[in-house]
Every structure is written in C-alpha cells, then in structure tokens.
Amino acid sequence: MSRPAAFIGIFASVLLLLNVLLLFRISGLQTQNKIWKTKGVLNLAEQRALVEHGLEGEYLGDEIELLRREGFRLLDDHVSKLTLLYSFTITCDRCLNMEMDIYQTNASMLDETHVTPLMVFGNIDQLLFDRIVRSFGIKEFSIRDKEEVLIKKFSKLTTPIILLINSNGRILAAHISDYFDRAKSQRFYEKVFNIASRT
C-alpha cells in the first residue's frame, strides 16, 4: 500500500470513529433532554398539588379579621372550632354545582366531626347571592364577600378553593377544585375527616 492511500485509510477510519462518537453523544443528549422536559414542566394536577401544599400552614387570620370587619357575625361562632372555609368565585357554574353536591354528601360527616362549614362568595351581586344560597339551602352559613377579601388573597385561582382552618386561622389542609376530577374533591373530605378525628 502506498503512503497516501494508507494516510487516506487512517483518516477515513478516524472520521468514522468521530462520527460514531458524535452520534452516541447526540443520542445521549436527546435522552437527557427528554428527562429534563418531563422534570421541568409540571402538569396541571401537579401544579395544583404544589399550590395546595404551599397553602398548608399559611396564616389566614388577617383575612378572617377583614371579613369579620365587613360585619360577618357568623365568623364569631367559629373561633373554637375547625372551619371548612369555601371560597367561591362565580366563574364556573359546573364547579360550584359539583362542590355543592360533594359537600351535601359529606355534610353529616362534617357535623359529626364538629367541622363548621363557612361559604364565602365573591364576584357576585346581592340578588344572585340570595338566589344561590336559597337554591342550595346554605343560607345559614354563607356570606357575601363584598370587599372581595378572599378573591384578593387567592386572585390567581379562578376555581373554588376549600380550606380547613383551625381556630387560630391557620390552614391545615387546602383543596383547589378540579372540575375534571370529582374524586379529588371526595378525597379532600377524607383528609378533613382524618384531621378532625384526631383534633
């Protein structure tokens, strides 16, 4: 074999080797990219869970005080009890219907475990509020949040929020309603039952 031919042969082999190495590297990067993509982007349920988790332990006393200043005597009865605070913004009729259905199936459990429901409606005029509470039969424990205290607090959340709070105004458990996951709402009441049974 002549010297130039040998040189070309060696050069081609090195080039082939480099190509193979490059292909391995690209394939490795692609796999890594896929892993990072799944790690970096949370789906909606995960995002919701993250927010719920972040709310747990948060102090809501200031908001309760503001609501009390709006004249809600109803809140005075809640100081020594666990309260299930519902924040409803009238943006989704279906969500409200769903949460009301689930509340009604769990109403006796809440009663037995001494958890008092308190439903706060924001983004609503007085007439519609009156009609809604009459329609659902929740007049005794519903209030209209005229100053939108809870909407200001949870303005990033457009769906109903349910919070279990203790007598100090500390959030023990949080639930963000997911219209497509009715079972999630029911699981939240199981959590409420567990906490209330221990308290």
């Binding site: 913004t89 009729d93 409200l96 219907n97 769903m98 009609r131 329609s135 303005s155 959340l157 457009t158």
Partner: protein
C-alpha cells in the same frame, strides 16, 4: 349636505375570512339604534305557577317549546331539574331527575326539541352525555359526548351538531362546530376559532342557528357571522361594527392570564356576543352586551346577511347562556316579576313584526346636496 338615514351603513370587502365565500363588512357607525317596540309587540306575561315543593334555581332558562305548546324550563344551577309548564304557566311534570343513573343528569344546561318527532335531547355538561326522551318525556337512550358542548342542534335529517366556544375541541382542534353520530363519534368539525382568540378571553356565548339548511355561526369573541352548509363550507361571511359593540383587543398586562380581578377588568373592556337566534321564517338575530354593562342589544339580519335593524336595546331578561328562545315569529325569555312582595318568574313573549316580503325598514345612508 344632510343625512336622511337613520344610521349609516358601509359595505366593504371583509378584511379576512373564508376564501371564495361571499364576504361583507358592515359598519353601522352612527345613530342611537332602533327601538324594540318598532320591531316587536309585547304579548302577555305568563307567571309560572309554582307549587310549594318546586323551587327554581338562580339561572333558569327556556329550553324548548313542545309541539303541544308547553314550556320546558331548564334549571342547571343549584337545583338541577327540567320542568314542564303548560301554556298558562301551570306546572305539569318534570323530565328526568338529578343523578347519575339512566335518564338522569347533573348539569342539564342545553336542550333541543325535534319539532318533527317531538323528541327532547338534553345535554348534560357534567356527565358529558345527551339524554333522549320521547314526546311524553319518557327516557329513551343516551349518546356519549366527547367534550363539553354549549349548544346542541339536530337537523331534520337526524344529524347531530354541537357548538363549543372553548379553546380546544374534543380532538384538540380549534373548531367551534362538531358533527357526531349516535355513538358519539366525531364525523366532521368546522369553522376555526377567531385568530384574535386567547385562552384568557374564554367566555360562554355565541352559537348557531339552522335556517333553510344553512348554519349561521358566531363565536363570543368576534362579531362575524359565518354561513356554512352542512359539510362546513363557508358560503358567506359578514363582519359587523355597531355603535354599542366594542371589539375584543389583546391585553397588554400578562396578569390577565393569572389574576381573576385583572381578567374581570379585561372582560369588561369588550362586548361579548351572547346569543344568535332564529327570528321569523328566515331572519336571524345577534345579541351582545355593551362593554362592561348588562345592557343587551339585538341586531337583526336576513338569511342573506343583510341588516334589517341594529342596536335594539332588549328589555330586562334573565341572562343565561340560552336565555332567549324563539319559535316562529315569537321570542320568549324569563323575567323576574314581583307579585305581592314575592319574587316570581314569568315567561315574557314578544312577537316579531317584520314580515319577509315587506320593504326593508333599514335605510342606508343617502347623501344629497
């Protein structure tokens, strides 16, 4: 130079839209609009005679008028029920009941009554199914739905069409009308969402009517009426500007996407198209609100999409997604009335006066020297 016209009406070529379709652009720039009484005569108000055990929720609407003249009231919020009242407003019966079993529903928010067979189709937006009842309101069958729909329409040939104004349809496509068969399988989808649509603008409203085998479709986001045939081909399109309609604009503040208060403020800056209705034999009406208010205006068109009247301020009505029901020349909606200090609900009836062969009441701009 002076204007004889009640308002001006410009016609130009539509700036965008379906190719090969007959496109128009109407700019009704001036005038305070037409008077409701010039086009509609008030009929009697029928107060609903509710028995003690019947309670109506906060957002009722007229679902349909049966072939016997009965009023079918849809109550999808709070108490979930479908009530039937006779022509005098006396309660007769209810259709199905709340629940998840056969013939039951959780969110009966729209319905269609087939005038040919008398059958009633109720769409359940929670359990995503259509319930079919016979003329005597006995449950017959159900049809699974692939997605939440806002309006159901069954043609006289028995074809099922639905309208949705959501950001993504059942197949992830941004279409507003879907045709499906009795198994719930999608057969066809047509008409894209407006290009200006963004998820933060999502709202209920718009819809479709079926006149002379053509669909007239509008979304809540853009005052453009599209006329399509049953296979979805756009055959005409008209874009309208009226004095009380404010077009949707893109927001500058990204907070609109995440903040409820900002979103409320954004939605109050533009007019939403609430309903499209069939009036008379072959006219249609579009109802929208004045931006940021609860004042609703009606514009009336012929089936060729020529304007008959515009900016007719509607009297008080309970504004729900399917608040206005039409049958022939008559418009019906629910109103709250006060009888002896007790709030009650009445069916208000108004009859359309315009007849097809009469001269067009609208005068276009005429300039003379």
């Amino acid at each position: 130079m002076f204007l004889i016209a009640q308002f001006s009406c410009d016609r130009k070529t539509a700036p965008s839209g379906a190719e090969s379709a007959n496109k128009k652009y109407l700019s009704l720039r001036e005038g305070s609009g037409s008077k409701f009484g010039d086009y509609f005569s008030a009929g009697r108000k029928i107060a609903l005679d509710l028995k003690d055990e019947i309670q109506i929720g906060p957002k009722p609407s007229i679902g349909a008028l049966s072939r016997r003249g009965e009023f079918i009231i849809l109550d999808s919020f709070g108490v979930r029920q479908i009530l039937v009242f006779d022509t005098n407003g006396i309660y007769k019966t209810r259709i199905g009941s709340q629940g998840t079993g056969e013939g039951q529903y959780l969110y009966p928010d729209n319905m269609f009554l087939d005038q040919k067979t008398g059958r009633v189709y109720v769409s359940d937006g929670d359990l995503l199914r259509i319930l079919e009842y016979d003329e005597d309101y006995r449950y017959l069958s159900e049809i699974a739905l692939p997605v939440y729909i806002e309006q159901l329409l069954v043609t006289k040939e028995g074809r099922f069409f639905c309208f949705t104004s959501g950001s993504a349809g059942p197949d992830g496509a941004d279409r507003v009308v879907y045709e499906f068969d009795r198994t719930g399988r999608i057969k066809n989808s047509f008409l894209r969402m407006p290009k200006t649509f963004v998820p933060a603008a999502e709202a209920k409203g718009g819809g479709m009517v079926h006149i002379n085998d053509m669909f007239y479709i509008i979304t809540p986001y853009e005052y453009t009426i599209n006329r399509c045939n049953a296979s979805g081909k756009v055959t005409a399109q008209v874009r309208i500007k009226t004095p009380f309609y404010t077009e949707m604009k893109m927001y500058a503040d990204k907070k609109v996407e995440t903040d409820l208060n900002e979103r409320k403020r954004y939605h109050s800056t533009w007019s939403h198209i609430w309903w499209i209705i069939n009036i008379g034999k072959d006219c249609l009406g579009v109802v929208y609100n004045e931006a940021g208010t609860k004042r609703y205006y009606l514009d009336i068109f012929t089936s060729d999409l020529d304007i008959i009247a515009h900016s007719i301020l509607l009297p008080n009505l309970i504004a729900t997604p399917h608040a206005i029901h039409t049958a022939g020349n008559d418009l019906y909606w629910l109103e709250y009335i006060n009888s002896d200090g007790i709030e009650n609900i009445a069916i208000a009836k108004y009859s359309f006066r315009y007849l097809h062969n009469s001269p067009m009441p609208v005068r276009e701009e005429v300039e003379t020297q």
